[in-house]
């Protein structure tokens, strides 16, 4: 089985609950991600806990795109 990345997305700088979802590719700084109905830009990605089997557990900090312009 291919790797699965379980990501805890936390939105910086605004009142937003964030999201948890699986992705097939590791998110990277600068990536655009859709959480619910909103788009965000990935600022930072760290490993939250060690991988288990084919699953990798990551924490990503994201910001609304307009905050970066």
């Amino acid at each position: 089985m291919a790797a699965t990345f379980k990501v805890s997305y936390v939105v910086a700088g605004e009142e937003h609950p964030g999201a948890i979802l699986n992705t097939e590719t590791r998110p990277r700084q600068g990536d655009l991600v859709r959480l619910g109905s909103d788009d965000f830009v990935v600022e930072e990605v760290i490993e939250l806990i060690p991988p288990r089997g084919d699953f990798y557990y990551l924490h990503a900090t994201v910001r609304p795109p307009d905050e970066l312009t």
């Binding site: 089985m1 609950p17 964030g18 999201a19 699986n22 619910g36 699953f55 557990y57």
Partner: protein, 148 residues
Amino acid sequence: MNPKDILTGVELFEGLQPEEINTLAEACEERVYPLNEIITQQGEVGEELFIVYDGFVEVVRAGASPENAPRTIVHLGEGQIFGEMALVDRGPRSATVKAASDEAHLLVIKRENFDRICEKNHHIGYVVMRNIAADLSFKLRHHHLTGR
């Protein structure tokens, strides 16, 4: 995509053999909820475990007192589960969950089917319960990081 293919990519079933995943897939029902439709209601008795395989759901908790507005705790997307607390402790639903994308596609396992499978095959029971504990731990870590 058939239920088995979906379950293979869900952490809840990590560590199971293909034939064990098949057994669980056969017990799953597919449901689709339109945007904002309520899937589970806080306080109600829960008899089902849900797996998101496409779209998003929003987890909302009512305030402790009537004057406190409901608060969104988290959005859950592909591969995530909810309803597991009521499945394990048989308590009331701890939150209201509603569809948060145009459509939320879910797989649903009823508790009676889940219990029957776990009783019959203790390896499935052990692996799934361990993965439920790991998922609850991950959600707690996310909660700590968001400060909500």
